[in-house]
């Protein structure tokens, strides 16, 4: 089986993912015709958050490791751009490389130290590491501290990101690469062993495998994907502050995953679409329905999320599958 066959076979089994990716690829045509450039901006944000959520989902959904600190890796990815530029390094490809390397090493260290624990201890340790990094960047006055630092759109030679839509399609290609990569590895031997560990670590051990090795590898991969999302985020927002690493951001990623469908390939992406659209539309809806409460739109947002978690088992993906009569 060649890589080509593996990819074709994988895409045929993940039609929803294909539909979503194709949707993002074609979306600018619609916004171009309808003259709604703002929506491109939102779509980029969805793709970036979706990419980060897909990365986290590898450990959270497939590996069953509830990491509550993945926003830190998104932040490191974004700061990799800012700090590189601070020292005069403008090449975006090198930013990506630095970010992957930094998140890989950091993921290895944090994973090595925290993956010996499970359950609530693991959640707390990953949270603690993320908060440590958050406060570290607040204290780094040189890089803007609390105020953050502004970033120039990176120089991805020969792509000129200042041309319209170039940044959009750069983000899209990054998302495509992440999607294909995850699609392949979750079905590979590594992927199924990771899933087996989630269900029954002691049986995997009894097969002569070292679970920690698989868990750390998964953790590092997921950290690197979040780092890549962070570098994209930096060019999109042209600004980075420690806020990106705040623990509520980690929580947001987890909500996106659960909303879309935990442990599924397209789930986190679908979750990001739903999450950010709700965040966009609910305040507007509130303005129309009950203007005096418009700023309290989260009163609706919270119950909607709870309803999905409680009643749509398997998130939106589960809902789609049941409506589509897919059964499993």
């Amino acid at each position: 089986m060649t890589l080509f066959h593996i990819l074709v076979d994988g895409l045929a089994r993940n039609r929803l993912l294909v539909v979503i990716l194709a949707g993002f690829a074609l979306f600018p045509i619609y916004t171009g015709i309808a003259d709604l450039p703002f929506w491109n901006d939102l779509a980029m944000r969805i793709m970036i958050l979706g990419m980060a959520a897909m990365g986290l989902n590898l450990v959270l959904g497939y590996g069953g490791m509830v990491s509550f600190g993945h926003a830190a890796f998104v932040g490191i990815g974004a700061y990799a751009v800012g700090i590189s530029q601070f020292y005069g390094l403008d090449n975006g490809w090198i930013h990506v490389l630095i970010s992957l390397l930094a998140c890989g090493v950091l993921g290895l260290v944090i994973g090595f130290l925290s993956l010996r624990t499970t359950g609530i201890y693991f959640i707390m340790i990953t949270l603690a590491f993320a908060q440590m990094l958050y406060f570290l960047f607040i204290s780094l006055e040189e890089f803007g501290g609390d105020d953050g630092m502004s970033i120039d759109r990176a120089d991805f030679m020969p792509i000129d990101l200042w041309e319209p839509l170039r940044l959009y399609y750069l983000i899209w290609v990054a998302l495509l690469c992440v999607s294909l990569f995850l699609m392949v590895i979750v079905r590979s031997r590594f992927g199924v062993v990771l899933e087996a560990i989630r269900g029954n670590e002691s049986r995997v051990e009894a097969m002569g495998l070292v679970p920690l090795r698989f868990k750390i590898t998964g953790y590092v991969i997921s950290a690197m994907i979040c780092g890549l999302a962070g570098t994209m985020f930096a060019s999109w927002q042209e600004y980075v502050s420690p806020d990106i690493m705040h623990w509520t951001r980690s929580g947001e990623l987890m909500i996106i995953i659960i909303l879309g469908g935990i442990g599924t390939l397209a789930g986190p992406l679908l979750g990001a679409v739903a999450f950010l659209l709700l965040e966009e539309w609910l305040p507007e809806l509130m303005h129309v329905v009950a203007p005096e409460y418009a700023e309290n739109w989260m009163i609706i947002f919270g119950p909607v999320l709870i309803a999905v978690v409680l009643f749509a088992r398997g998130g939106l993906i589960g809902l789609i599958r049941r409506i589509g009569g897919g059964g499993s």
Partner: protein, 253 residues
């Protein structure tokens, strides 16, 4: 009789004041079924856990195929030839019977750490996976999800996974636990057939099964060996009758 695959020498393990294993020495030869019996709380599972590597003995040595394995982790010992079935079925839930076997086959070949080809349709694994299932006769249930298996079938899959790594020593912790009479019968036949391939240490409460299968029997009471030898000799042993079989001379063996 062939060379021992397992030699325990003076194994001792305490939890505080409780002595779970007292100076236990025993041997399991290749091609032999060695039954470990004793009342509840006698320390049988604790002993198995020390052999398997999930508990560390305070003193004494564990030798597997001639090599001391005291310092080795569970996966290391498994790769050196230990297969284990657990008291409570310990199979990969959420997967099918076939998928369980595929993962076990990938592990057996030492090729689980690969990232490219889809595991469950990999021709390199499919054949070996089916062979794992055929050994215990559940290949007919290959496509069934583990959650949908009957209890007895789950026990068989458990045994299949324990055997998957081609172990030299098989640790069977109550393989008949919770099985009905027919399932027990079936399991006894399968274990009897395995005899020629591996050395088996069998913990079992079903005395009928023990006396039909065992070549050697060791009786553990309060962590210590009180008798060891051929089944008939052990059954006739006065200390065993007193401590284990009821303490009453009329008790049937």
């Amino acid at each position: 009789m062939s060379a021992p695959v397992l030699i325990l020498d003076g194994l001792t393990k305490s939890y505080g004041a409780l002595c779970a294993t007292r100076d236990v020495s025993l041997q399991v030869a290749a091609g032999e079924i060695h039954a470990l019996i004793g009342p509840n709380g006698a320390g049988k599972t604790t002993l198995v856990r020390q052999i398997y590597g999930s508990e560390t003995p305070d003193s004494g040595t564990i030798r597997l195929c001639g090599q001391t394995v005291n310092h080795l982790s569970v996966p290391q010992r498994v790769r050196r030839g230990i297969g284990r079935s657990f008291q409570i079925s310990n199979v990969l839930m959420g997967f099918t019977v076939f998928e369980n076997a595929v993962i076990a086959e990938a592990a057996r070949r030492g090729e689980a750490f690969r990232f490219l080809r889809p595991a469950f349709s990999d021709p390199a694994l499919v054949e070996g996976a089916m062979a794992i299932l055929v050994r215990v006769g559940i290949e007919g249930r290959a496509g069934t999800r583990v959650a949908d298996l009957a209890h007895g079938e789950k026990r068989l899959l458990e045994l299949a996974l324990a055997l998957a790594g081609d172990p030299a020593l098989l640790l069977l912790d109550e393989p008949m636990a919770g099985a009905g009479p027919e399932e027990t019968q079936h399991m006894i036949e399968i274990i009897a057939r395995l005899r020629s391939d591996v050395g088996i240490l069998l913990i079992e409460h079903d005395m009928d099964a023990v006396f039909r299968l065992a070549d050697q029997v060791t009786v553990l009471v309060e962590g210590a060996v009180i008798a060891s030898g051929e089944p008939q000799a052990v059954a006739a042993d006065a200390a065993v009758r007193a401590a284990y079989l009821g303490g009453d001379d009329d008790a049937e063996a």
